[in-house]
């Protein structure tokens, strides 16, 4: 890692492709070399990728999944033209990146973090598990819901001993949460009050990322049990770094930008969020 301390952050720049492979049909893990991102990307921060097709100038934001040495990985689903292009990246090629961007999960508390992910919401949670691995004062449980193939369990298991997952044939991620809650003696009584945390025990904090419906269900589930939830949101972005104001979200703190003030928000501050849509 270099000692160079520039006044200004590096802006958009090419990053070398180290590896690019399909984990399952249409889900790709991309490893890129960029010292700055590898050294600085906090859990749930994201990077913009840019296509080489000069007709497509908008950023494609992706949560950083893992960071090691001077490389980092992303994990993405092929859903449109940009991801279709990135799927075909090969080692030695470059792709333009900008980042790390946004504000990630707040992991400052000494807590047992429960990482609840669905579909392609799992990458930022894997980075979170990685970050928590070194922490003596924090615990980590991973609960992932997949459509079918459990594509991210291996990567998550590198950083967390307690990875559980489920797919559509078996149920959804809330079922996993229920099971986990039962094991940990967490119950929602009639008043939605959590069994009090025992003296000296760490509180539980839910971190979630995935489809909107899933995150809302998780947040509602947690609220009923008196647990804090931090959710990493998605939004169509015009810049990704706080300039264009196209990615707004209504919060108790006012209208904020998903890219710059988020993507992570405490769900308590998301106005009428669990009900809306």
């Amino acid at each position: 890692m270099s000692d160079f301390k520039p006044t200004y952050l590096p802006s958009r720049r090419p990053a070398e492709v180290v590896d690019c492979r399909e984990l399952t049909d249409g889900v790709v893990r991309l490893t890129l070399r960029d010292e700055f991102i590898a050294a600085n990307a906090r859990p749930a921060q994201f990077v913009n990728l840019y296509t080489t097709n000069e007709q497509r100038l908008s950023p494609r934001p992706f949560g950083v999944c893992q960071a090691e040495g001077d490389t980092f990985t992303l994990m993405f689903a092929v859903v449109g033209k940009g991801t279709e292009e990135f799927r075909h990246l090969r080692p030695g090629q470059t792709v333009d990146v900008l980042g790390p961007l946004g504000h990630g999960f707040d992991l400052t508390r000494s807590a047992n973090y429960v990482l609840v992910g669905g579909g392609l919401g799992v990458p930022p949670l894997i980075r979170t598990a990685q970050e928590l691995k070194g922490r003596e004062d924090a615990g980590c449980t991973v609960l992932f819901g997949y459509r079918n193939v459990h594509f991210a369990d291996d990567d998550a298991s590198r950083w967390c001993d307690d990875v559980r997952s489920i797919d559509e044939s078996e149920g959804n991620v809330v079922a996993l949460l229920d099971r986990w809650a039962a094991e940990n003696g967490i119950t929602a009584d009639r008043d939605g009050v959590l069994r009090p945390v025992a003296e000296g025990e760490r509180p539980f904090v839910i971190l979630t990322c995935g489809p909107l419906g899933m995150m809302k269900a998780v947040s509602a589930w947690a609220r009923e049990r008196g647990l804090e939830t931090q959710a990493s949101l998605e939004s169509r972005m015009g810049c990704g770094f706080g300039t264009c104001v196209v990615c707004t979200v209504h919060t108790t703190r006012g209208i904020l930008k998903t890219c710059h003030d988020g993507p992570v928000f405490n769900t308590a501050e998301l106005e009428g969020w669990e009900a809306a849509r």
Partner: protein, 340 residues
Amino acid sequence: MSGTTMTQTAQAATQAAQGQAQGGQQLPCYFDANRTFTWHHKTQVAGVEWKNPVGTASGTFNFDAVRPFYDVSQLGAVSTKGVSPVPWEGNPVPRTAETPAGSVNSVGLQNPGVDDYLVNDLPRLKAAGATVITNVAGHSDDDYAEVVSKLADHESDMLEINVSCPNVSADGLSTGTDPVALKRLVKRLRPLTDKPMIVKLTPNVTDIRPIAEACIEGGADALSMINTFVGMRFDIRTGKPILANITGGVSGPCVHPMALAFVYKTRQAFPEIPIIGIGGISTGEDALEFLYAGANAVEVGSAALADPVAPLRIACELDALLDQRPELAQALEEGRTWQS
């Protein structure tokens, strides 16, 4: 016009920006803002000196967002997000969709209002050494008058009256499409401030000349053009418009040839009025075309969304291009243009 520092730096920058070739693929640009800038070619817009002819366009510059990336005082000027009398919420999301070589946005002029601006934005921008153009938004003549009055005693270097945003009014039209209404508005604003007043025009008009004439007769010190074209995209999975607001404003490289024609036609009709060229600039060469069309300066918009340092990179590239064009550079420095 001294020193060789910049010539070399700017050339290096330009080369980096053009990309080093690698197996048929152009390496994407990488502009390093961590260095000292010396500008050779300044310009004047309505008597205000810009240290180089490249500013940022309104709505595509946000101080907090870009200050980590570069020194904003190095730009010719910065035009702020449109400022309205009271806070505006803007439109629902999604507010952006990709278009070929551009994008369409429906921000709807979200901003925290002029009072917030005067406390939180303007003083910090000035403290950072920027040449500040305050962009003014309004739903009515009263709105504009209120903002301009409040700005009058503060430290912006110029005002830019946005009479063109296609997002705000019901059907995407605006004062900027009606010469009579426009002249009335500009006439009303003129006595409210001593600051140089730029009127920013919309391209969604049949003929730009009567519009420009109305501004000039109303007392505008300069014109800037163009704002965005009305456009939209559909999601082919749902058959519905992508933007929650249905239509929005199109910007980016796609509008460059239209924007050049707007500037050129206005310049042919009005040899004297200072013009800031805006639309689709993503390289120094794109900016240079505006100067050849008769602009005194340019503002960079969408390019700054695809790369925060783009305006500074473009300023460097243009400085190097002007080194090779002493006649044009001389004209700009004297407040003239290539076409005058």
